[in-house]
Symmetry: C2
Subunit: 157 residues, 2 copies
Amino acid sequence: MKPVPSSTVNTGTIHMGTVNIGDAAKASGVSAKMIRHYESIGLIPSAGRTESGYRTYAETDLHRLRFVKRARALGFSIKQIEALLALWGDRRRSSAKVKALTQKHIDELEGKIAEMQAMKQALQQLAQQCHGDDRPDCPILDDLAAEQNKSKTGHRC
Amino acid sequence: MKPVPSSTVNTGTIHMGTVNIGDAAKASGVSAKMIRHYESIGLIPSAGRTESGYRTYAETDLHRLRFVKRARALGFSIKQIEALLALWGDRRRSSAKVKALTQKHIDELEGKIAEMQAMKQALQQLAQQCHGDDRPDCPILDDLAAEQNKSKTGHRC
DNA sequence: TATGAACCTTCCCACGATGGCAAAGTCAAG
DNA sequence: CTTGACTTTGCCATCGTGGGAAGGTTCATA
């Protein structure tokens, strides 16, 4: 029902190939909401503005937004991305710093993964023991309600 | 430097074997802060009060707190624990419901684990390619800054 | 030209679960 | 009575994201 495809709508003020926040969002995959947020916390520099106050984004800005998007997708925290952006912009950076930062993130991920796998393991063991029928009998609830950890399986918990 | 061991300090009002929030925290492993929070959001019933307004906890309350603590340790969300507590208190429950809830949690965990492992995988590959020395050359930053995803390894990303 | 759709702006609130701090009241022991 | 260890409530912070309100702008079309 839209006679005009969105790609032809709104090319900004066509000042210099800059686009509005909505197009920047589409182009980068970062929501307009988050773009504003990133600007407000100083992760990205303040966007340019049209005379009426609309934010404008040039290609470099879009490039940075894509960088942020990709870094988020890899699980880097905002703080880490801040550091990555700084390194990215620093021609005299050492790749060692980037690698160290990345390794730290990997280690954090591993920690969380291990934690969740331990949970999963424990839960699966409990679920396996639960017959899962109409009766109220339930090893899962029994475990949760246990006065102290009964190490049934011999594993220390 | 503390002349009196904490275990001998404060046995509450000794009314009926009920204890103050601090002791309830120690006994359950849930911080006093979180006990109040859990009460405020309705996860646990409002604690009894002394005449002066101190919360009091009986053995059943401690039992419930331990239940919550253990469930949190297994990664259940507050909402899920709410359901678990309801099932725990329902003599006519079916173990199937408990098992289903647990399985759902396991599935969620698996999803998150898979996601994080994918991140870890990608990061390790990048880190491996990065020599990590003084030079600014860095495949990690190159990847983050890539205009589009270059599927170097043949994996679609 | 006026209207309406689709955009943009700022500001506030929400989630998950937890922690911290501050001001004030209470309790028990010295 | 004073002191210290507790308790109370309340507000703010985290982290990343979403939702919505109230209002302004742009632009195409009737």
